[in-house]
Amino acid sequence: MVGVVVAIIWMKDLIAVVMLLGIYGLLTASFFMAMDAVDVAFTEASVGAGISTLLLLVAIAKTKRKEHPSRHKPLLALLVVVITGGLLIYGTYDMPIFGMADAPAHTHVAQRYIEDSYDEIGIPNIVTSVLSSYRGFDTFGEVVVIFTAGLGIIGLLSTVNGTGTRKKLPTINDSIEDQHIVLRIVGKILIPFILLFALYVQFHGEYGPGGGFQAGVIFGAGIILYAMLFGMDIARRVISQSLIQLIAAFGVLLYGAVGVVSFLNGGTFLDYNVLLENPVAGQHLGILLIELGVGMTVASVIIIIFFNFAGRKGPQQISDDLGA
């Protein structure tokens, strides 16, 4: 991993840098897997190795490909980095030994989650129960952050300027669309399964690794694949921009509404015990609903981000470059 990062520093070609970053993301995901963090590995594999590589590539297509050789003096930067790194390494000597079971991180609230969560929530995946029930409020905040980022991107990049003279924009996908019939057919076969898998991840998140965040990312990736293979214009016709914005907002609202309903039933905000007669069944319902809200928001924000990037007009020579 360190080697890949060192290579990233030396590369001047930004596309190579982004490809290396994708490899780095995949390595990170395997590392998370080795550390028993299956949910996190799942997310990192779909986000770090998939979506972020894709978004960076689209952004490069809209800007410049080569990095200009820098006239900064790297020595000063190197000095700062070495000093900071040295201090941090010195600091690690006070940290608990790797893998120690009685490290401070494991002795406080985590123990209670492991021991009691099954009786209180009734689902085996502890990560999901902590994510959506014990710390549901934090997750709500994070969903709002994602939604806000989506809003910001619409504000910055939205192509609808009200001028009414929207020509067919030259996108990076035009050449792929015409030439690669194999890609299109394989894509046609794969995309339904990707979407189906996303739904499986969404609704199976209580029992295995998965949940709204991962499902949203996978669903978004499926739609993006469709848009890349068949061109932006067709994809825009299939998924209308305003509908997807509505879904993003609806996901956040659904999450918030579950909280308000538990208010009205006499509990505290996002206390699912009061949703139904049986507290455990109430927890099930609450988690299902808010995971649905999370999945909807994440998927539609990712689609919004991609559509807004790809719909933007970029320098022509670079789009030729990529298509070749």
């Binding site: 963090a37 410049k64 006239r71 790797f98 120690m100 502890i126 965040f213």
Partner: protein, 116 residues
């Protein structure tokens, strides 16, 4: 004793490499890549703290008594998705900067600002 901290050293090394990219490179996309690496090093830090020797993935099953700590997993899971959303926002700003200045190099942008 010494070898027990190697996970932190990897984290520090990655973090510093990301930090170096951020401060030493003028290209805005490269800076964002550096930021992503920095961010990932923090993720790795949290996840390695959550690891327990002999522990299993935090999904309850019969016959397993030792689990890894689920709390850092939750934090990082959401942080990854929030991270990609904010990275995308940064990229959007870069695309707009490129449209306004026709450059994504810090120096050229600075020069144009000084001229006007």
């Amino acid at each position: 004793m010494l070898i027990g901290h190697y996970n932190y050293w990897v984290v520090v090394a990655l973090m510093m490499l990301g930090f170096y990219i951020i401060i030493a490179h003028g290209n805005l996309i490269k800076k964002l890549v550096g930021l992503t690496i920095f961010q990932t090093s923090v993720f790795i830090f949290y996840i390695s703290v959550a690891k327990v020797d002999g522990g299993s993935a935090p999904i309850l099953a019969d016959g397993i008594t030792q689990y890894s700590n689920p709390l850092p997993h939750v934090l990082i899971l959401t942080a990854i998705v929030v991270g990609i959303a904010t990275t995308a926002l940064g990229l959007a700003i870069i695309v707009r900067i490129n449209e306004a200045y026709d450059s994504i190099e810090e120096e050229f942008i600075q020069q144009q600002d000084n001229l006007s």
